[in-house]
């Protein structure tokens, strides 16, 4: 699957939808609840994850994997937890700024 900036990805089994902020610099298997994510327009059977361990994926949070360089933004939340080649993908911390506009 071609992961480019701006592409929309989705979990085939849960409600998680992602947007690619930064594409990976090397090929990586991005999974949600252990299942590889697909293009958002692809067939999504749903049904939920057999393994729903982990914290799930939160809307509006950025998830960045340092090793592969991939960064995604969660556009729709879900119970599945993201992993890159099996590594859990942490939330990229953002320090909220005082409202300037």
């Amino acid at each position: 699957m071609d992961i480019k900036a701006g592409s929309r990805l989705a979990c085939p089994e849960c409600s998680v939808e992602l947007v690619v902020v930064r594409p990976p610099s090397s090929p990586v298997a991005l999974t949600c609840g252990g299942v590889e994510v697909v293009e958002a327009a692809a067939d999504r059977p749903g049904g939920g994850h057999a393994d729903a361990s982990g914290d799930g994926t939160l809307v509006g949070k950025r998830y960045a994997d340092e090793d592969s360089g991939i960064e995604v933004l969660c556009a729709k939340p879900g119970p599945g937890t993201l992993a890159a080649d099996g590594r859990e993908v942490p939330i990229k911390g953002a320090k909220p700024l005082p409202s300037s506009d």
Binding site: A5, G6, S7, R8, V19, V21, A41, V59, G60, K61, R62, L73, A75, K76, A94, K95, P96, L97, P98, S99, S100, D101
Partner: protein, 493 residues
């Protein structure tokens, strides 16, 4: 990432939360999103190549911005107050774009492409358009074309791509981070980067925007009280008018948590009075340029509070624009391009994901990604950035670089003066001499000699204006930037 995603996420998460109020009408996030999608379909059915917005500030503005984004078309806001002579070439430069306007007759426009602004709010608008919206909008596509205010000449079309603006928003705003009762009052014009950045940030944070079509100090204060506004953004001329109206009495705006200002240099006397009158409000100074997708540096409420409490270091920093945002790098260089050490003034260069530095005529960003702001400034030992003004405005008198802003600040502190402009006039002996044009407070009186003595007392003699003249008012852009070239032309004419 593209701009429409920002609204799409808020609409699917916040649904019925109010998103935008203008006049007596309020749209929820879901309603705004639906209206934007309807407009996108309409724009595409018209075969538009862009979306020109030539109208006032109200709920139709976000509909048009996000409608353009859903359609994958560049959004091109124009100043609806421009005269026919200035507006026509801008309209003709964007033939093929749909034009959202206040009236059906727009100079230079193809009548078939003109859409009345008021119709964007109609639920019936474009329901006939059976067009599929693009599934993918490339982050590399141009999202917004902004004609820069052009204080130094003809306006230039700055290009901001989806990736620049979304980098700014997702890097600085917490998604849905606003409480449901938060509301932002917006009076900056839709054709200014602050108006656009403000829209995107507020929609992503889940904050309701309240639009005022035009600025009036009394209406602005009344709206803050009646709508329980928690956030507001003003340009310096607006704050000056509010302070003048209050005339020393408290603002009486307890709901206002944050008042941010930017767009032009804030005169310190105005800021100091405002800090006194807006009790309990946190002040934020935001510095940025059109070419940097708005704010790149902030001076926050703690810094303002410390200055107000009398901390001498903080008082100096009240004249700064604060620290650069995470993800932004700054360098101060001399004329030859060498990076200058802390404390030395020079040309300000910026780098970061939100920095575009690109115009229709090409990019001015160098090979390493640095954008020359053409502002002069310096950085102190704790990374506070001080902006002296436009490099083009710097007066060079006998080889000494003099920032007009420093002299203007001193003049504005004089009790008889409400506005001041300082420019360099050609001089055979010195290269340039300093000239000041001042506006007297109504009812006040002061002579040229008195002002001259006053300047000598507060400034080095090399910075004391050689010539001082009085005028009834000074020329400013709509966002309060002083038009120095007009001041100069007036002096030389």
């Amino acid at each position: 990432m593209n701009l429409s995603l920002l609204l799409e996420m808020s609409a699917s998460t916040l649904e019925d939360r109010p998103a935008v109020t203008s006049g007596s009408r309020t749209l929820s996030y879901a309603q705004l999103d639906a209206a934007a999608r309807r407009c996108a379909a309409k724009f595409l059915s018209m075969g538009a190549t862009g979306v020109v917005y030539c109208g006032t500030n109200d709920a139709s503005f976000p509909i048009a911005v996000f409608g353009a984004a859903y359609a994958g078309l560049p959004f091109i806001p124009l100043n609806y107050r421009l005269g026919e002579e200035q507006l026509q070439p801008l309209v003709e430069a964007n033939l093929g774009a749909v034009i959202i306007a206040e009236t059906a007759k727009v100079p230079g426009a193809d009548p078939a492409m003109v859409v009345l602004r008021s119709t964007l709010l109609d639920a019936e608008f474009s329901t006939a358009a059976d067009v599929e919206l693009p599934a993918f909008v490339d982050p590399e596509d141009v999202a917004i074309v902004l004609y820069t205010s052009g204080t130094s000449g003809t306006p230039k079309a700055a290009l901001l791509r989806h990736r620049h603006l979304t980098a700014y928003v997702i890097g600085t705003v917490e998604f849905a981070g606003a409480d449901p009762e938060q509301a932002a009052l917006v009076t900056v014009p839709p054709y200014h980067i602050a108006g656009l950045a403000n829209l995107l940030s507020n929609m992503y944070s889940g904050r309701r925007i309240v639009y005022l079509e035009s600025f009036d100090a009394q209406v602005w204060l009344d709206t803050i009280r009646n709508e329980r506004i928690t956030q507001a953004m003003v340009v310096p001329t607006m704050l000056a008018r509010v302070v003048q109206l209050l005339d020393g009495s408290p603002a009486g705006a307890p709901s206002l948590a944050t008042l941010s200002y930017g767009g032009a240099r804030m005169p310190l006397p105005v800021l100091e009075q405002a800090l006194e009158l807006f009790v309990g409000t946190g002040f934020v100074n935001a510095y940025g340029l059109t070419e940097t997708s708005s704010t790149i540096a902030l001076l926050g409420p703690e810094d303002h509070d410390a200055a107000f409490a009398g901390d001498p270091v903080a008082k100096v920093r009240l004249g700064s624009v604060g620290k650069v945002l995470p993800g932004i790098e700054v360098e101060v260089r001399d004329e030859d391009g060498s990076v200058l050490p802390v404390g030395e003034p020079g040309l300000v260069f910026l780098r970061g994901e939100q920095v575009s530095g690109e115009y229709e005529s090409g990019s001015v960003v160098d090979a390493e990604g640095w954008f020359p702001t053409k502002d002069r400034g310096w950085i102190d030992q704790d990374d506070y950035l001080f902006i002296e003004g436009r490099a083009d405005d710097t007066i060079i008198r006998g080889g000494e670089n003099i920032a007009p802003a420093e002299i203007e600040d001193v003049l504005r502190r004089h009790e008889a003066i409400i506005d001041a402009a300082v420019v360099g006039i050609p001089d055979d002996e010195w290269g340039q001499q300093i000239a000041a044009v001042v506006v007297m407070r109504p009812g006040a009186s002061v002579s040229v000699d008195e002002l001259h003595d006053y300047c000598q007392l507060h400034l080095r003699s090399s910075k004391t204006p050689y010539r001082i003249e009085f005028r009834d008012e000074l020329p400013h852009t709509p966002t309060g930037k002083l038009l120095r070239r007009e001041v100069l032309a007036d002096l030389l004419g």
